[in-house]
Amino acid sequence: MNLILISAIWGIVMMFSGLFLKSKSSAKTVALIGSIALLIGNFFDLSGKMIINSNFNGMLQYERFGLLFLTVLVLALIMYILLSGKDVEAVGNHPFEYFALIFFVMSGAGLVALFNNLLILFIGIEIISIPLYILTGSDKRNLKGNEAALKYFLMGSFSTGIMLMGIAFLYGATGSFQLEQLMLQPQEDYKIFMLIGIVMIMVALAFKVSAAPFHFWTPDVYDGAPTVFTSFMATIVKAAVFIGFVNLFANAFGNKTGNWQMTVAIITTLTLFIGNITAVYQQSVKRMLAYSSIAQAGFMMFAVFAINDMAKQGLLLYAAAYCFATIGIFAVLVKMKDYTFDGFNGLAKKQPLVALVLTVCLLSLAGIPLTAGFFAKYFVLAAAVKTGTYLWLVIFAVVMAAVSVYYYFRVIQAMYFKEGEGQEMLITVPFKALLVTVAAVVILLGVYPSLLLNWLTLF
């Protein structure tokens, strides 16, 4: 609860501080203070001390898994603000508003992680989505950005409509929005409503996490949006929607896996295939990362598919591994002028340290051992193997993981093995230190994933 409150309040604080603080560069500092407050609030959440200690008639539930997931998101947010805060300020004339929107998204993420009622899920998803429409179009003189924002808004609203429709069907079948009520078997006549409802919600959420075949907005939006916000959308936001996805299917439909597991398996297959294969053909690293985010969503879909303990641990680890690595890569990408693969040529000579950190992040995304990405993939795949069915899906996934090596390693090849000047970049010493921290976290989680997962059982 603390986190939801603080982030909503801090969003307002950010907006008003824009009126009083004249210097643009103070926005990052205020945002940083806010994000640290979020972390502290979340810590108290975890230890059970809340400002308002209520679950609002069962509309929220403070599961350790959801709370810990929020910790990961907040840590990623702090890293994001530290690494890319300066670039957020550079997007346009309203840095305080951008940060305010980011904080509103966080409060939506809090609702999505802790909901126990379909209405809360719906409100959470909307609170996440609406600020994103604005952030996408925040560079208002950029035509591509405008197109992306409009596209995102239209398609996003459409999927929200489908979601509402699904919720209505579920209400019709069971007479309740509460998850535990949905767990009960509906009357025989209403079973079909239940099924339609599940599929509609699945479609809407698949749209939000950019799972195929509902992914068509992703490349354009990620490419058109200012790169700093792409970084935010592709990582923290995507992970936040996934926790809602998994919580919903585990807590409301977990006993009806026979009805929907096949559909999720198909969505997963398509997502992995389209994401990975299309990423291979990209010439721009930013677009490649957009498709890579679809591909990674395919792996996270395994958590929805398997819904067991292993899957939850896997999603937690996946979110951490994926967010940190991707934020690290984007932070460097923002500072570059040339987004093509060739733009990375010779970077290792010019900026050996930056190149090394990028390599670690890319290896992690590819899922090479000793990096967090390996255990992330390991856990979600192990969760799927544990279900004992659909082994072909796992084998298909690992083949796709091997395909992903192709495009991630293209960047590494460009940096280390190709001749080139290396682009001019403004890299400060603190920025380097932060990048090293990102790499250290990625490697540490790759050797000892228990560092994070043990928190699930602590306290």
């Binding site: 390991y378 795949l381 004992g388 082994l391 084998i395 091997a402 192709y406 280390y416 093995f417 997962l453």
Partner: protein, 478 residues
């Protein structure tokens, strides 16, 4: 403790090397590190320190995986081979100069840590970890310091092996859920009782990973290009040590885990291996580049070894064990000679060389010995191994032995043809300027020649060392 040292010394030594900027110091440092590793291994062997050959520490209890290292006969042999080869590789390529030498030598040592880890790991997940970790440094070594086409070629190599190992990971995960105590430890995995159907598809998931690494026909297409494009020091690591990872993995994991499937599919595996032997030998005969010739001849030799592992009799297995070591030594010797020739005369093409015997008699004698060992002439180490393996193959099925035996004849043809073209005949402009090898190079080759003869005459210690592994495998099949 030795088991841990064998990984830690090259690992830490390798990481330190990255910070040794000066070329001569980086060379010296990495050489010393490799000597320390060799010393640790030798002390263990001389003292018969059985306790030092295993090590266990807690790693990931929640996943049922621990940092368990264990040396049985075959892995002791291969650890010794690894620690022996590294100083020889470093000393024989002493004259070669690399851009950013600190990274080169650092990565070489990290590769050693990874390879040794594969030979030692007694835990499924740990094994997978090392299996991948050995690959990463080699990927960077080949792509950064290799020949013209290095990037594409190395990439192919990487993707091939990566797909293979991921399939193995799926198999490993499946096995994990079948264990009684939810553990990745070798004992728990060995104890799993699988149905015939489970075994048969798990067998292939694992086999593809190992077959790519060895490589067995038809998974070999990455190998000649990679050997050719890599800097020779890395080619030495690849062919003397990394291919052994695949063979060793068959010994330690594939056969004990899926004995029924191994029997069921023995004809397919041995058939592929024999096809590979003949096919690679024929291709080797047509090469002009010596490096490619050795690459193909290596496929032929590995083919025999992989066939011998599946014959399910003592002779074949015992031969494969000794050949694990012999092949490593012999192929290393070949690469050293090639490296020397290339550095002196600037080419590896047989058509451009000739008449070296007059200019470099020392080199010629050493090469002839190594080449004859490659052909498996009696008195050399390879004779013992190949004889036993053919004997095993013969017992399994006479036709395989007959067809596979042709590869020995073919190997004599291409080896002798190479000797003739490179060392005899007339000098030309390129070769007229050459000089003989110096004493450091002679010493490196002398170590190999000594190993060739000692093992060729007195192979008993190796047999004794590997008896336990052979017994284990034969026991599983009964």
């Amino acid at each position: 403790m030795t088991a841990l040292l064998l990984i830690l010394v090259p690992l830490i030594g390798g990481l330190v090397t990255f910070f040794v900027k000066q070329e001569s110091q980086a060379k010296l440092w990495s050489f010393v590190v490799s000597l320390v590793t060799l010393a640790a291994m030798s002390v263990n062997l001389l003292m018969h320190d059985e306790a030092g050959r295993s090590f266990t520490a807690e790693w990931l209890p929640m996943l049922g995986s621990s940092f368990a290292l264990q040396m049985d006969g075959a892995s002791t042999l291969l650890c010794f081979l690894t620690s022996l080869c590294y100083p020889i590789i470093f000393s024989s390529t002493w004259k070669s100069s690399y851009a950013s030498p600190n990274s080169f030598y650092g990565l070489m040592l990290l590769a050693q840590a990874g390879i040794t880890g594969v030979f030692l790991a007694a835990d499924g997940l740990l094994f997978y970890f090392f299996w991948e970790l050995a690959l990463i440094p080699v990927y960077f070594l080949c792509s950064k310091w290799g020949g013209e086409k290095r990037i594409a070629v190395t990439f192919k190599f990487f993707i091939y092996t990566f797909i293979g190992s991921l399939l193995m990971l799926v198999g490993l995960l499946y096995m994990y859920y079948q264990t009684a105590d939810a553990s990745f430890s070798m004992q728990s995995l060995y104890a799993v009782k699988l149905t015939g159907e489970q075994q048969s598809w798990l067998f292939w998931l694992f086999f593809v990973a190992f077959a790519v690494k060895m490589p067995v026909f038809p998974f070999h297409t990455w190998q000649p290009d990679t050997y050719e494009q890599s800097p020779t020091a890395v080619t030495m690591v690849l062919s003397a040590l990394m291919v052994k990872m695949g063979l060793f993995a068959v010994i330690r994991w594939l056969l004990p885990l899926f004995p029924d499937a191994a029997v069921q599919y023995d004809n397919i595996v041995i058939g592929l291996s024999v096809i590979g032997m003949i096919y690679a030998s024929i291709l080797a005969m047509q090469q002009d580049d010596i490096k490619r010739l050795i690459a193909y001849s290596s496929i032929a030799h590995i083919g025999l070894m992989s066939a011998a592992l599946f014959v399910n009799n003592e002779s074949g297995l015992q031969g494969a064990m000794i050949q694990l070591f012999s092949h490593g030594v012999n192929v290393l010797g070949m690469w050293i000679v090639i490296e020397l020739i290339e550095r002196r005369f600037g080419t590896r093409k047989m058509s451009e060389l000739g008449g070296l015997a007059q200019k470099a008699p020392g080199l010629t004698i050493l090469l002839v010995i190594v080449a004859l060992a490659n052909v498996a002439l009696p008195l050399t180490n390879a004779f013992i191994g190949e004889f036993l393996m053919f004997n095993g193959l013969f017992k399994f099925n006479i036709w395989y032995a007959a067809v596979g035996g042709l590869s020995v004849i073919l190997s004599a043809i291409y080896s002798l043809r190479m000797i003739q073209k490179v060392f005899y005949g007339n000098e030309n402009i390129l070769t007229a300027t050459g000089a003989d090898i110096n004493w450091v190079e002679k010493a490196s080759l002398a170590v190999i020649v000594v190993a060739i003869f000692v093992m060729g005459v007195y192979p008993k210690p190796v047999f004794e060392l590997t008896t336990d592994t052979v017994t284990l495998i034969l026991g599983v099949f009964k």
